[in-house]
């Protein structure tokens, strides 16, 4: 290193006021230009890359000319200057000179005001890397570059503060004492808020500077102790590449907490967050249930939350299985209290009415409903009234009809458990059979071609052990002039005609049965001609 006192003086001027006195900058050329090589531009650099290039060139006066045309092409003074700068920059070279020669050397350096320090490597435009838009930072103006540098410093400062926060938190967790005050280290509430704020700023800076995304969970100090588990990528074509970032992050945290079987409020919130993005995600529901049961949270509260989700996602069936699990878990705690059971039954009935209003035939809702009836024992008047209301609203609601049949004929109070659905059940009281037959018939008039009450009617007859012929008069109301010609023949319900065919067969009135079936095949229900023709053949067999 040359003695400091002999460094060339810096000229006054704008360049001198810059704080960038790092080793990569050489003193600018002196005002006089006798030693200035022709390649040094005197204009102000527009980019950082240009500036570095200028500085590089300025630190090597005569270099361009020498490269171009050789040392011998330079003027003698320039030759000496060039040689001197080679020595000045290399302590190894200087060591070979004697003391006297070295003093000579420095005299030349000072007289010519040679730049002693110089950047070793030639700058390239790519030296500063690229920004988030893919632009070379070397192409920034000096002002913009300084702005970026300032932001990087800010980010570093934030990161340091964030680490300090983590240290404090760790010391508080361990119950360590503050060395100065001798008090236990405590993490104040506002420090957590400050940290959250800090991370928000860090996220913004990282995004701006590097295009990096700092996920919602990464920004949340509450989740610092969890190491997220990213998507496991098998190495083949069918595997993942792109993954929507916020969903991916949430799922990676889910994997982590599921693996360590953590059950806590934050995990519950995590499941809610994922459900809001993807309610069809099968596993998250099961894990949510685990959380609720492990923390012994109040089931009615969860059901209230679930109601909102169910109304938003009518086609989702995990919701209903979740409800099933909740009820299974909840019921034992209220089973002995008749009031509580009836209260719960009432609130469920109210919600089922609300959700069925949106989607009257939702299969998952109805199968949950039949499960609930069995579980709570709500075989009575309230449930019957509810299903009746639905049939009144829409006589074509087959789900409601099906539920009614279940309610009436599987009621343990008056049915034989284990009876097949199509077998007679003597335990069913006669007046109930009569009542149900009447109900079906009345509803049939509202829409004679609606299939549900006709199936229901036949189902009731079977349960009651009654012959089909007992409703012949009723069925006949829907048919007139059968076989008497196109102008006369009227069929208001193909189901009625089908039932009549069965009744005639039951009564062994083969020709009448055949006529009915033939007319169905030929005219009234041609699309099912294959079925009607088969029925006609069966008549022959029964003979």
């Amino acid at each position: 290193m040359p003695p400091k006192g002999k460094a060339a003086p810096k000229p006054k001027g704008s360049e001198a006021n810059k704080p960038s006195s790092t080793s990569t900058s050489a003193p600018p050329p002196p005002a006089s230009t006798t030693s200035t090589p022709s390649s040094v531009p005197s204009t102000s650099p527009s980019t950082v890359s240009e500036r570095s290039q200028q500085r590089f060139d300025e630190s090597r006066p005569n270099e361009a000319a020498r490269e171009k045309s050789g040392l011998s092409s330079l003027a003698p003074a320039e030759q000496v200057a060039w040689i001197s700068s080679q020595f000045a920059r290399s302590s190894a070279a200087r060591a070979r000179l004697g003391t006297k020669a070295q003093r000579e050397l420095w005299r030349h350096v000072n007289e010519a005001s040679l730049p002693v320090r110089a950047p070793k490597t030639k700058p390239s435009p790519g030296s500063w890397g690229k920004d988030r838009a893919g632009q070379h930072i070397g192409g920034y103006t000096p002002a913009r570059f300084d702005d970026r540098a300032a932001k990087r410093i800010t980010l570093t400062a934030l990161e340091i503060a964030s680490r300090a926060f983590k240290d404090t938190r760790e010391r508080a967790r361990k119950g360590l004492l503050d060395p100065l005050s001798k008090e236990p280290v405590v993490l104040a509430e506002n420090e957590i808020d400050q940290e959250k704020n800090r991370r928000r700023q860090m996220a913004a800076l990282r995004r701006e500077l590097y295009g990096q995304t700092m996920g919602q969970f990464e920004q949340d100090p509450e989740w610092d102790d969890v190491v997220p588990i990213p998507q496991d990528e098998p190495e083949m074509a069918l595997a993942a590449i792109a993954y929507p970032a916020s969903y991916a992050e949430a799922i990676s945290y889910l994997r982590a907490v599921m693996q360590k079987k953590e059950y806590s409020p934050r995990c519950l919130r995590l499941t809610e967050h994922i459900i809001s993005m993807n309610p069809a995600h099968y596993t998250v529901w099961l894990y949510r249930a685990s959380n609720i049961f492990a923390m012994k949270l109040l089931i009615p509260d969860e059901i209230e939350w679930l109601n909102e989700v169910a109304l938003e996602h009518l086609k989702n069936y995990q919701i209903w299985h979740h409800r099933h699990l909740l009820v299974d878990n909840y019921y034992p705690s209220i089973a002995d209290d008749a009031d509580k059971v009836s209260q719960f039954a009432a609130s469920e009935r109210a919600f089922l009415a609300a959700i069925l209003a949106h989607d009257t035939k939702n299969y998952h809702v109805w199968s949950y409903r039949s499960y609930l009836v069995g579980k709570l024992g709500t075989w009575g008047a309230d449930e019957l009234a509810a299903v009746e209301a639905m049939i009144t609203d829409d006589v074509r609601n087959n789900s409601a009809w099906s539920h009614r049949f279940f309610l009436v004929f599987s009621n343990p109070a008056h049915s034989t458990p284990g009876t097949a659905a199509t077998d007679p059940d003597p335990a069913v009281p006669r007046d109930i059979v009569d009542r149900e037959l009447q109900y079906a018939m009345v509803k049939t008039y509202l829409a004679p071609q609606n299939q549900s009450p006709w199936n229901y009617l036949k189902g009731v007859l079977a349960k009651g052990g009654r012959r089909l012929a007992s409703v012949e008069a009723f069925a006949a109301e829907f048919v007139a002039g059968l076989g008497e010609g196109e102008e006369v023949e009227q069929v208001r319900s193909t189901h009625a005609l089908d039932l009549l065919a069965e009744i005639y067969a039951e009564k062994r009135e083969k020709e009448k049965a055949d006529l009915a079936l033939r007319r169905l095949a030929e005219k009234w229900d041609r699309i099912r001609v294959g079925y009607w023709e088969w029925r006609r053949k069966c008549l022959d067999v029964e003979g």
Binding site: Y247, R255, S367, R396, F409, A421, N450, Q451, N455, R526
Partner: protein
């Protein structure tokens, strides 16, 4: 005599459908792709079976598919819907079906955990007292899982691992007053549930428990004026019922109960002949599920250019014959 002008129906757009299925796995920049990750293996089965029926089994690379399937297997033998997803009955069944399609049971033995372990996983999901099956250790019970178990176990040759009789008993309890079957005893008859119950009984060789007359009638009533089939009375027609209803009719030998030409017409109208795929109803958005079931329906209806499908296993007949040594 039909109301329809038959010339309106487009023919089956085979190459468009093949390309549609091939494109399915390349949508990884779509959010929807990731939201349906829990169906990934099932989706692969639907797409691959469809391709086989279309006569293009090679359209998805075989080796990659096998690798992917095996990567979904867990220690307990079961398969998850995608790598990292917990094992479940439905994805396990899809895995077995895919391996059957690709004739890759050897790979399962050598590189996977072997057929026996898979059989064990499935068998452990049977509720020994009721006979029915759960989908996973969480216990949701559904006749779909029962059918899935029978389907996969019989393909693996391991049906004896489960209590078939108890399962059959459970199915009979799901029979309803209208001739159909529901998801559990007392639940509404539904074409999908009917298929699962009937197919399970068929695999078990117990069709004698079915009242075919009543069931056939219920199934025949599914056809609506437009020719399509619905899944329950007074519901809208949907292409997927071309499978659930039609295969059920096939199993009891009563496909003549419906008007086949009208059904073919309906299915063909549900195609998107430009970008490929089939939807639930004409004009709706397509998806791979409805694409498969539209094709299986057409195959059952002997539509030219399609491989015959097995009505019980929902796999090409050639696959089932090969695996079961028929």
């Amino acid at each position: 005599m039909t109301d329809q002008n038959v010339a309106e129906e487009p023919p089956l757009a085979i190459s468009a459908h093949v390309q549609y299925i091939q494109r399915l796995d390349k949508r990884r920049d779509e959010y929807e792709y990731w939201l349906t990750e829990h169906l990934r293996l099932n989706g692969l089965y639907w797409g691959l079976t469809a391709l086989h029926l279309l006569g293009h089994p090679e359209a998805i690379p075989r080796a990659d598919t096998i690798d992917f399937v095996l990567s979904c297997q867990h220690e307990n033998g079961g398969f998850g819907a995608a790598p990292g997803h917990d094992a479940h009955m439905l994805s396990t069944v899809s895995a077995v079906q895919i391996l059957a399609l690709l004739d890759a049971f050897d790979d399962l033995e050598k590189r996977g955990l072997g057929k026996a372990r898979v059989g064990e996983y499935i068998a452990n999901l049977q509720n020994k007292s009721s006979g029915t099956f759960a989908g996973d250790e969480w216990g949701e019970q559904d006749t779909r899982f029962l059918y899935g178990a029978f389907n996969a176990l019989s393909l693996l040759g391991l049906l004896e691992l489960v209590d078939v009789d108890k399962a059959v008993e459970h199915i009979t309890q799901c029979a309803n007053f209208d001739g159909g079957y529901g998801v559990s005893p007392g639940a509404e008859s539904h074409a999908g549930q009917i298929f699962t119950c009937l197919a399970a009984l068929t695999i078990a060789g117990k069709q004698e428990y079915v009242n075919k007359a009543r069931l056939g009638r219920w199934l025949s009533e599914r056809q609506v004026a437009g020719g399509g089939l619905n899944g329950r009375p007074e519901k809208k027609e949907d292409v997927c019922y071309s499978w659930w209803v039609l295969s059920s009719l096939q199993m009891i030998g009563k496909t003549n109960y419906i008007d086949k030409d009208k059904l073919v017409g309906f299915i063909l109208r549900c195609q998107d002949t430009e970008t490929g795929g089939i939807s639930d109803r004409p004009g709706d958005v397509v998806d791979v599920w409805h694409t498969l079931f539209g094709l299986t329906g057409l195959s059952l209806l002997d539509y030219p250019g399609l491989e015959p499908v097995d009505e019980v296993y929902c796999l090409p007949k050639s696959t089932v014959d090969r695996v079961l040594g028929r």
